[in-house]
Amino acid sequence: MMLDPYQIRDDFPILKRKINNYPLIYFDNAATSQKPKQVIDTIRNYYENHNANVHRAVHTLSQEASQLYEEAHEETAKFIHARSMEEIVFVRGTTEAINLVAYAWGLHNLEKNDEILVSLMEHHSNIVPWEILAKLRKCNVTYTEVTAEGSLNYEDLTSKISNKTKIVCVSHVSNVTGIVNDVRKIAQITHEHDALLLVDGAQSVPHIPVDVKDLDVDFLAFSGHKMLGPTGIGALYGKSEILEKMEPFQGGGEMIKEVSFNPATKRCNISWNTLPWKFEAGTPNICGGIGLMEAIKYLSNIGMENVKEHEETLTDYAMKGLQECTNVKVYGSKDVSLKCGIIPFSVEGLSSHDIALFLDNFGIMVRSGFHCAQPLHQLFKLSSSARASFYIYNIREEINRFIEVLGEIEQI
């Protein structure tokens, strides 16, 4: 069954907007996605009918909120094929998920001269926490090379991984080029060296089927807002046996089982809550979690294979159209089968911001700059790039218009 983007578009109220008197064309999906009315209605319904703090209350509203919040964990676990909801920790987003691992695992497991292996194609959120951690633990961060096509250099990865490597951190899909990394292969190499694998799934979980068991990743981080959900919610998947052994990330309510004052020591004895609550200190983003659940249900109804196929078709169509634009240069692999719906490009003689402002004039939203991946831009010798990224509600007619406007930019 193919996805019907025209029918899907009816679910997205924002797509009826006009920007500068032109119909909105939203091609900034790698930054955040738009929200269907089902998610918006769920958020409204939660606050109108079920709002209460979760867990440890006996009243009806709290029971309802707790039930919904736990279901959200279960639905998320099911979506990425985790073994159970114990393996799903709700966080603010991908960045917080990676920081959680860096602090809760890294601070307690890394020693002087240990190595953290990171790829050069990473978003800053999968670089900076490791650099901070390396400074704190006096260990090293080693970077694996990326090919001219924007793919991970697996030979380089194999040559740089060693018995000193304790964790490998890579993105599943590059947020700049859309290239899909062979995570299963990386997991195999990583585990042969007894290291852990953390995967940034911010650009994969919303766009392609992801099975954490099949990929054999130890950690997977992703954001709700890039997959039709609200902002401020995301998830960290971790193998339960690893999460069990980890220390908490933050301390507070919810993450403890018991805090008892010991008169003898004049200190408090603390025992941690069970998974995943051990990592969710304080009142969580309950509504965000429930909104994410609705977004996941929406995507599941469409089917992630259909999402992938639709984006592949659009990307192929756009790449062919861009080839006709003489002054437009597309970066990274041109092989659509190797990538998700992200196209980085430039127009000769114009900065990426000029391109984005010009397109904005015609209601077309694209991103410009480094996309929080400065090292990859350095590698490509780019001062910045413009980026078009697609999702389930984008259609060929929008790409036609995009190419048409780019044609006008070329006249400048």
Binding site: S351, H353, F358, N361, G369, F370
Partner: protein
């Protein structure tokens, strides 16, 4: 500074090696703002009446009909504010 409050919604420093500054003018006043700027600055090039390449006191910049402007090679937001102040006063 009242002029800035009246006309400017945001000033964004872009990311990228270029370090451009994007000025987003208040949308409902964009026509008035663009007219004022075009009166004071020298138009080097006009593209389809959508983009205007301008110079003002040695500073080159582009103004978009949609009420946005892009400034390059300026040291910081204060310099951007000063130019806008002069252009719109």
């Amino acid at each position: 500074m009242a002029v800035l409050e009246e006309y400017v919604a945001r000033i964004e420093e872009t990311c990228g090696e270029e370090k451009d500054f994007i000025v987003i003018f208040k949308y409902d006043k964009k026509d008035e703002i663009v007219a004022k700027i075009l009166k004071k600055a020298k138009t080097e090039k006009s593209i389809s009446n959508i983009i205007f390449e301008l110079t003002f006191k040695g500073v080159s910049f582009r103004v978009y009909k949609t009420g946005k402007a892009i400034f390059r090679n300026l040291k910081g937001k204060d310099e951007v504010r000063n130019i806008i102040l002069e252009l719109l006063s």
